[in-house]
């Protein structure tokens, strides 16, 4: 029953305005980036052209050239990730629709299905546009082009070092296209996990004004950036260094695992606490 419920609630969430607006905004980012690439690289010789997947919105490799859309995306992501499903529980709580839902489903089923539907809805919203972008670039740009925005040659040791720093570099070396697809799915999954957190917070803590639900993800993600700026280490702990594609800063996989682990544990604890709460 829980599975059907999650599916149903995910469908309902995806039909809501917030999910549609987020989806359209991401599509807008992608189209903006695409048009910029078309204008910039129109008529360029294939031997000079950059690898098409490195032109994508989520590609950090763009930093070396012009990454205005990526910049905007990085700035907005901590807020955007809350949007598709973050308010789903608090809406029902504030309008007191929760009563009718709990009366039909029981509190546990209701809370769990809310949480999981938030995961799937957010994950889908943050995966589908970028998967579509892959197809768009496959069709529009020559896959034979292999250049990198760092302008390093493929056989230079420095380039090899950079490639080995990509998260999932083994996949990249096997098949760059497969790497991109998997990393986009990974990005979507992490977004889904982040999308659960505000729902869990609203289950545990009474929220009067919905804008405060932007706080959990906004604070967590910016905390990683602040930590990065304050630390002197060479290994990055910035959230976007782990989520963006073709990111060649030195990384530590345990930072990523810890970060995701913290979010998952927080979500579970808050949701559990919320389930124990009685609302009259």
């Amino acid at each position: 029953m829980l599975r059907k419920l999650i599916l149903y609630q995910t469908q309902c969430l995806l039909k809501q305005r917030e999910a549609a607006v987020t989806f359209l905004l991401l599509i807008w980012f992608i189209i903006g980036n695409y048009l910029g690439n078309v204008i910039a690289f129109r008529g360029m010789d294939i031997t000079q052209m950059y690898y098409p997947m490195k032109l994508m919105t989520l590609s950090y490799n763009r930093v070396n050239y012009n990454a205005d859309v990526t910049t905007l995306f990085i700035m907005l992501y901590p807020i955007l990730v809350t949007l598709p499903a973050g308010f789903s529980y608090v809406k029902e709580q504030q309008t007191r629709t929760e009563v009718y839902l709990v009366a039909r489903l029981g509190k546990k089923n209701y809370m769990r299905s809310r949480l999981w539907s938030a995961f799937f809805a957010t994950a889908l919203v943050f995966t589908v546009p970028f998967l579509l972008e892959i197809i768009l670039y496959l069709v529009s740009f020559p896959m034979e082009a292999q250049n990198d925005f760092s302008h390093l040659g493929m056989y230079e040791p420095e380039y090899a070092l950079k490639v080995h720093r990509y998260l999932g570099s083994a996949l990249y070396l096997e098949s760059p296209l497969f790497y991109v697809a998997v990393m986009v799915l990974f990005f979507g999954a992490v977004s889904g996990i982040l999308g659960m957190l505000p729902v869990a917070v609203s289950q545990a803590v009474p929220v009067r004004f919905r804008m405060f639900l932007f706080l959990p993800d906004y604070l967590l993600l910016n905390a990683t950036s602040y930590l990065q700026v304050m630390r002197k280490g060479s290994v990055t702990c910035n959230w976007y260094d782990y989520l963006l594609l073709f990111q060649d800063e030195p990384k530590n996989i345990w930072y990523l695992v810890t970060g995701i682990g913290i979010v998952v544990v927080l979500t579970a604890v808050l949701s559990f606490a919320g389930g124990k709460k009685e609302t009259w």
């Binding site: 309902c12 007191r96 629709t97 009718y100 009366a103 039909r104 489903l105 029981g106 009259w280």
Partner: protein, 214 residues
């Protein structure tokens, strides 16, 4: 098939909300609960439905125990004070969403429920624009649309005009005929006199009197 409460007690922050409530209610009857504001009627409904946990005692439905065998009554329609629906959806959309959760009824039954309470199923106005009476009618519609075995109505005629009150009374009668167990909380003596087969009086969380209508 009966809904039984045995020694149900609940306190909130040290204040006793329900004290040793014993009830034995059968299907096909209307049980009225009356009492002053704050006497515990709404809390009793919350406890009996499973929306609220109790401190001691037990609640049995078809010999199965609430919070042990199930967390909420499996076939329940409830109208509670201050419960609301989605303000930016029409009445039909709101009920369709709720109906989609258990998939017991389809759009046809939902439209029928809306018509029974005197609402137009194809009214394009959203819930947020409804008058208090319309909101109350919609709440009753969501309670009856799935033909539940237990219906709990907390002040269902609040905010309704004379015609609305009559419609709700008719519906309660029809649901009783169908065999539902109906719990009705109301300040209206007329409602109690006309509808209830048994009337319980509550005060300070206790049942202080019972009257069985012939």
């Amino acid at each position: 098939m009966s809904l039984i409460a045995e020694g149900v007690t609940k306190s909130i922050k040290g204040k006793i909300i329900l004290q040793n409530i014993d009830l034995n209610m059968q299907r096909g009857a209307v049980y009225g609960f009356c009492g002053r504001n704050g006497s515990g009627k709404t809390m009793l409904f919350r406890a009996l439905s499973g929306l609220m946990r109790i401190d001691s005692g037990r609640i049995l439905w078809k010999e199965k125990e609430l919070h042990k065998d199930f967390s909420v009554l499996p076939s329940l329609g409830i109208v509670l004070e201050h419960a609301g629906l989605y303000p930016n959806m029409t009445g039909l959309k709101n009920l369709s969403y709720l109906g989609g959760l258990k998939k017991i009824v389809g759009e046809e039954e939902i439209c029928e429920a809306l018509c029974r309470v005197g609402l137009d199923p194809y009214d394009k106005r959203v819930y947020g624009k409804y008058s208090m009476g319309m909101k109350q009618r919609l709440a009753v519609a969501q309670a009856i649309m799935e033909h539940p075995e237990v219906i709990m109505l907390d002040e269902p005629t609040n905010g309704l005009d004379e015609a609305g009150v009559q419609e709700i009374r008719t519906i309660i009668g029809q649901e009783r005929e169908r065999g539902a167990l109906i719990l009705l909380a109301s300040h209206s003596k007329e409602d109690m006199d006309m509808l209830a087969d048994h009337v319980y009086r509550m005060s300070d969380g206790c049942l202080i009197g019972e009257e069985e209508k012939q």
